[in-house]
Subunit: 278 residues, 2 copies
């Protein structure tokens, strides 16, 4: 009995945390979203959901006559677009996700980075392009102890991709970057696994064969795969960012399809796991 | 020194809580809202903000071609209207209020009743009228310990008037009722003052004289004022509800103008205070 208790105490010391990011391909399909949220709810322990936008914001903008503004191919967040994403990401999508998670027994709280001052960013400075109301994350953006208080109080944060500047201004921020920054920051307090759900089953050996998932990649293998040109150009920034997060303390980054998430619990392979140790 | 410490401990035991409700007359005027949020932030101790809607939801509905549906003069929340209020109340208004509160140093978290399962309601049953997606509060809707965990973790909840049924469905709920139900529920744990901000300085002795505020009303005085027909018909439901909340444990209910809220801190009179003891 005494040994059991001690063991429990030791394992509790290193708390595990999952941070899972989903994008439009999950959000826009109500069946996919439903299944994902059910699998997410069945994961044990601390977890954080980060979601991007979806078609709804684009549709609402079109209905309201707000044109998508692009400068040199880059999307601009003007004040009307910020209003739309605040309504759609922060309201419609986020709160419906929260209501679904509650249904599945997860005590979720839907958040922007303004809530709890969890993610404070800086409005991107105007150089050649004025990106409008876009917030960039830096090393001081996230206070991990602040988020820990919410986790330890028993709540599961669900973040949309909106932040604030601390001066009353909401800002649009990339959801992938939010997930990565949360993972790096919280890896000081938790053994953190960062999961990106995307449209493929993982990093593929053969891009035409969905079943050719490379299960594990460490930095050495990554260099080899790049040399062999097995990892194609579009995946490079994703994987570079993932290994940067790992170098900053994140235990592993998994890239896979949302409908395979349930595999984690069954100890079955899920996506491609990037880490320092295969 | 010993006496001081003991005194502090005793006063800490009964934690005070303010629950303050604002409506469209504050939300629709950016200067009023700014001033109110600044005054709200300067209040010491635990506090909860509850806000209703404003003109924005009506305007957005009109732009989207969603007609306001009324049956026997009662507003119906159809699925399109629910989408609009989730976007506007839960997203646009709520998150901008949170960003402003953060600016003024209040660590606010913007919530619907779905978040944290804080307010679980029942969809109003269809009798003669189908009200649509409207949620009614009952005695099991609010778990005060759940909200206490958030307060004690150092966060200030800001609720919009959306709740959920626990089965994944968001529901529209009256903001006055939410404020009152929160106050009754949390009065089990805190010495709770409930404040309704409305367009007048308080309950007026003479409806044509804004300065004729009746400062204090207890149940006995309330009966007298009703007999003398000093309290007019429109105020009766407000005051009846307030005295019901007081009978259920709320220490006092204050009705007044948002721009006078700062008076509380200066120990100056603010609005009309309803309580069991003048």
């Amino acid at each position: 009995m005494g040994i059991d208790k001690k063991y429990l105490k030791t394992t509790n010391k290193v708390n595990k945390l999952y941070i899972i990011k989903i994008g439009g391909n999950v959000i826009d399909n109500s069946e996919n979203l439903h299944n994902f949220l059910q699998d997410f709810s069945s994961l044990d322990g601390h977890k954080i959901l980060v979601h991007g936008g979806g078609k709804v914001a684009t549709q609402l903008s079109a209905t309201l006559g707000i044109e998508a503004k692009l400068v040199d191919g880059r999307r601009i967040t003007d004040i009307e677009t910020l209003r739309v994403v605040t309504m759609v990401y922060g309201g419609l999508i986020n709160k419906n996700i929260v209501a679904q998670l509650q249904r599945f027994g997860t005590n979720a709280i839907g958040l922007t980075g303004a809530d709890g001052n969890f993610i404070r960013t800086k409005k991107r400075p105007v150089k050649t392009i004025d990106y409008g109301f876009v917030g960039d994350i830096d090393e001081n953006s996230i206070n991990p102890e602040n988020i820990q208080r919410l986790l330890e109080a028993g709540f599961t944060p669900a973040f949309c991709a909106i932040t604030h500047d601390g001066e009353g201004q909401l800002l649009n921020t990339n959801a992938d970057t939010i997930a990565s920054a949360l993972a790096v920051s919280l890896s000081k307090l938790y053994e953190t696994t960062l999961i990106y759900c995307f449209e493929k089953k993982g990093v593929l050996h053969d891009i035409n064969d969905e079943e050719s998932v490379i299960r594990d990649i460490d930095p050495k293998r990554y260099e080899e795969l790049k040399k062999q040109e097995i990892i194609h150009s579009g995946m490079l920034p994703k994987l570079d960012n993932a290994f940067t997060a790992i170098a900053c303390g994140v235990k592993s980054v998994i890239i896979g399809r949302s409908d395979d998430l349930g595999n984690i619990k069954g100890q079955q392979p899920f996506g491609t796991r990037l880490s320092n140790n295969i």
